[in-house]
């Protein structure tokens, strides 16, 4: 490990309040003291931890002004939006302030660094408070020590916002380490949506990403978060996400994962209030030697709540995916409905899908199920289409895209859905021609 990663930047220390300095120091200590994961750790089962290395990355140097402008220009997945923030190598490149109407209602949308200065009490309550229980504590520590880029979105009671807030996190420099942070606090009876986009400037720039996002959904808050991860194949990525849902909150998470050489995605959902409803959808397209390592928790601490998870993976060439999910129903959380589905589509015989769908149920009046299937394209269905005059290649395409569509459909925005289809099809088109 480089000394650079272990030394929090002096600039961070200088103006920060004491509570934050303390959290950073604790994070650094956690990062230093916890061992690297090994193949024997249950939380890292099937992951090729031997190949996991995070050495020789550095907090990036400030990119050139021209790069910042060019990448801001390319940050165009969603045109109709309530606000936008663009970071390149954790350096702010562009910040579209929100409409003053929203400001008047008390909505806060700010870069994390500014939020720390302007709303310290809010940040003290929420920032870096939710660690991960899914195996990457060490890396969460590193994030806590180093996070300076990111966005705070605070929606006060009763405010509903239709257009999404869009955060772009780019990597650009050589072997740069980035630590983006998305913090969403939605108070009672609110409605809000956020899109996080993770992009690389070129196909070549190597990077390490350790990002964290926390959603706090208050009573009857409606939160919709979409994450688009399309790093280049030279990026090692950790995304450590948590959602906390209170009474009657409705949260929807949709993740589309396309890039990175190794992507570890930890998604923790904790339902603390009755009547909450949390949905988790994910679509992953894996090719070449990519490894996607997905770990999820659906924890029901309160009765009469619902959670539903659907993770779909399509695998090409030598790609590997690991899906490890656990539904936990606490004692007394009666009336829980919790579902978990993992579907893996193997398009090449060398690809490998691993599934660990788990249940821990401590209450009896529940409806819980999980299902995991892995298979190839159904020959009978192919035959059916070919019989009706559709060429095999086209039929295959239709079936594969149909497999994706179930998740893309949940995006609920035609523009973003179209843009995602383009990203995925670009990855797939050349391959499908050879089928």
């Amino acid at each position: 490990m480089t000394p650079t990663l272990e030394t929090p930047m002096e600039s961070l220390k200088a103006n920060e309040p004491a509570w934050l300095a303390q959290r950073r120091a604790a994070g650094l200590e956690q990062f230093k003291s916890l061992p690297m994961p090994t193949a024997r750790d249950e939380a890292w089962r099937f992951a090729s931890v031997g190949k996991l290395e995070i050495d020789d990355y550095n907090p990036a140097e400030a990119p050139a002004e021209a790069t910042l402008d060019a990448l801001s220009e390319r940050s165009n997945l969603v045109t109709e939006r309530a606000g936008r923030m663009v970071y390149v190598d954790d350096v702010p490149a562009d910040f579209e302030c929100i409409h003053h109407e929203l400001t008047e209602k008390g909505v806060i949308y700010l870069p994390i660094a500014e939020a720390i200065e302007q709303h310290p009490e809010l940040l003290e309550r929420y920032f870096l408070k939710e660690s991960t229980e899914l195996g990457s504590k060490k890396f969460f520590g590193l994030h806590a020590a180093s996070a300076k880029a990111g966005s705070l979105l605070y929606v006060p009671r009763g405010v509903e916002i239709d257009a999404p807030f869009v955060n772009y996190y780019w990597t650009s420099g050589s072997r740069s380490a980035v630590f983006p942070h998305t913090l969403i606090i939605a108070e009672e009876n609110t409605k809000v949506s956020v899109v996080d986009v993770l992009f690389s400037e070129t196909d070549q720039n190597e990077a390490l990403n350790v990002s964290v996002s926390n959603i706090h959904a208050g009573p009857n808050a409606h939160v919709f978060r979409k994450v688009v991860q399309d790093w280049n194949h030279r990026t090692v990525s950790f995304q450590l996400d948590t959602t906390v849902a209170e009474r009657d909150a409705q949260v929807k998470n949709v993740a589309v994962n396309i890039g990175a050489s190794r992507a570890r995605y930890e998604s923790q959902t904790r339902i603390d209030g009755p009547g909450a409803d949390v949905k988790m959808y994910s679509l992953t397209v894996a090719e070449e030697n990519q490894e996607f390592d997905q770990r999820t928790h659906q924890t029901h601490n309160a009765p009469n709540s619902v959670s539903d998870l659907l993770y779909k993976n399509a695998l090409l060439s030598n790609a590997r995916t690991i899906f490890s999910g656990l539904i936990q129903v606490a004692e007394g959380a009666q009336g829980t409905d919790a579902y978990q589905t993992n579907r893996n589509l193997l398009l090449d015989p060398t690809a490998e899908a691993n599934a660990l769908p788990g249940l821990e149920i401590l209450a009896n009046d529940v409806r819980c199920s999980h299902g995991a299937t892995t298979g190839n394209v159904d020959e009978a269905e192919l035959f059916y289409m070919m019989q009706r005059g559709i060429p095999r290649r086209v039929a295959l395409q239709l079936m594969v895209f149909g497999f994706f569509e179930e998740v893309i459909d949940k995006i609920d925005s035609d523009e973003l859905a179209d843009n995602l289809r383009k990203l995925i099809h670009r990855k797939f088109d050349s391959r499908l021609k050879s089928f």
């Binding site: 193997l346 769908p357 249940l359 819980c368 995991a372 190839n376």
Partner: protein
């Protein structure tokens, strides 16, 4: 009231339970604790060949080196004190408890299960069962005519090394896990069976009979080899509670099904609720062969048992059907492993568990299709039924898939007996307990059909008894 109901305290180790003041008059006793001397003593008593002696001593080394699997398993394992266990007791003759010493509730259990008088005494460990002794020798005669070998582990290794040695410890290597190593060091008892080419046994063989000839140890070792085209069904254990002074039972069972052979292995485990039951079971299926485990776990304090099939030859088939019932203070940690190593192999796992009171049942499974295989299929279904508000169930499958035209599907569901169902039945004159039993029996009914008739009848009664007092 059933045996398992009585023990609500799960936490402290109850070494006294089931200890019917055994008089210390064993012919051979290896003492307490495990050292090289214990192993040598066992070898001396059994008059082991040199290679077996070496095998045991090596296994002891492995056992000492291996960590407890506590990184994922039940922490209750830490309560096992290996220094306080007797590793070898040979009775030489029949056990010598008296019928009067058997607790009343046990006698009642026998009564209600409808176990014949003679068998009851045997099951309670009071005396050997002379009827079955006779039956055993009759059966042995018939089998010998067909060339079937059915002996104990010691006799098998001593008399027929050319048959058993090539497979002994090959399906489950010593170092497979800590408890297979322990068994490899201390094994005694169990059945070694060889069924020659093309011989299809019509009647199931039962461990039951075998027990009489050589008393079941706590570290029994079973090896069944079905030669090409042979078929055998083997039944182990029985539905009545088996009372043991031992607190640790750690068996190793290896099955070898050669080309086109079929092995079906049926277990009903009903140890008393002080027993740690840590068993390693695995079958090897060659081309076109079939290995089927039918596994019922009702007793014990903690059971950890995941029968597996290594599908080594093309077109091999593996199956695990399991029923687990966890009552207060019990943890049934069971499951299945399917290793697909050849094309066109198929496997099927159906697991049903019932948790009553504070009981906990866990399914842990592994399905592995590691190489570039074609046309392999796995189907896994795990259903859990929770009876009381504080019952618990877990499911932890692990599935790895590669290759062409392979399909794997896993489904699990958790449910409870609905209040409407119970109300409906009670309205029609059933008591709440009867209604509950009926619902639970309905839950496991489709699996029960896979059992030989007399077993499913006894199992049904047993479930009825376990369900008593669980409602309200």
């Amino acid at each position: 009231m059933s045996e398992t109901h009585l023990q609500n305290e799960a936490i402290h180790v109850d070494t006294e339970r089931g200890n019917f003041s055994y008089p210390e008059n064993y012919e051979f006793d290896a003492g307490v604790g495990l050292t090289e001397d214990t192993i040598k003593y066992i070898s001396d008593v059994k008059n082991d060949d040199d290679w077996v002696r070496e095998f045991r001593l090596k296994a002891l080394e492995v056992f000492r080196k291996k960590p407890m699997p506590t990184n994922w398993a039940d922490k209750d394992l830490e309560n096992i004190d290996f220094d306080k266990i007797r590793y070898y007791l040979s009775k030489g003759q029949t056990p010598s408890r008296s019928w009067d010493e058997v607790p009343d509730d046990v006698k009642e259990t026998f009564e209600r299960l409808g176990i014949p008088e003679q068998e009851r005494k045997f099951l309670a460990g009071v005396e050997a069962q002379f009827d079955s002794e006779a039956a055993y020798s009759r059966m042995k005669e018939d089998l010998e005519k067909e060339g079937v070998i059915f002996v104990g582990s010691t006799e098998g290794l001593a008399k027929y090394p050319e048959i058993f040695r090539p497979y002994f410890g090959k399906v489950i290597p010593t170092a497979d896990n800590k408890f297979s190593a322990l068994n490899s060091a201390t094994f005694s008892g169990g059945s070694f069976i060889y069924v020659p080419k093309g011989v299809k046994l019509k009647q199931p063989l039962q461990a039951y009979f075998r027990i009489n000839a050589e008393n079941f140890g706590q570290f029994e070792r079973t090896l069944i080899i079905a030669d090409e085209g042979a078929e055998i069904t083997y039944m182990e254990g029985c539905t009545a509670p088996k009372f043991e002074t031992a607190t640790l039972h750690s068996a190793v069972v290896e099955l070898v099904a050669l080309k086109n052979a079929k092995i079906q292995y049926i277990t009903v485990q009903n140890w008393s609720s002080n027993v740690f039951n840590l068993v390693t079971k695995r079958g090897l299926a060659d081309e076109g062969a079939e290995v089927k485990w039918i596994d019922c776990n009702i007793g014990s304090r903690l059971t950890m048992k995941y029968p597996g099939v290594v599908l080594k030859g093309k077109g091999a088939r593996g199956e695990v059907l399991s029923i687990a019932l966890a009552n207060d203070g019990q943890h049934q940690d069971t499951g299945a492993k399917m290793m697909h190593l050849a094309d066109n192999t198929t496997s099927n796992i159906i697991s049903k568990s019932i948790s009553i009171g504070k009981g906990r049942s866990t399914y842990r499974g592994q399905v592995h299709m590691p190489k570039h295989l074609k046309n392999c299929k796995n189907n896994t279904e795990c259903d859990a039924l929770l009876i009381n508000t504080n019952s618990r169930t877990d499911t932890y499958p692990a599935i790895t898939t590669r290759g062409q035209n392979n399909t794997v599907q896993h489904e699990a569901s958790v449910s409870k007996v609905s209040a409407e169902q119970i109300f409906y039945m009670m309205q029609r004159g059933l008591s709440e307990g009867e209604a509950m039993s009926l619902a639970v029996n309905g839950f496991v009914n489709d699996l029960m059909k896979a059992f030989p008739m007399e077993y499913s009848v006894e199992l049904k009664r047993l479930i009825d008894m376990e369900m008593e007092g669980s409602v309200g």
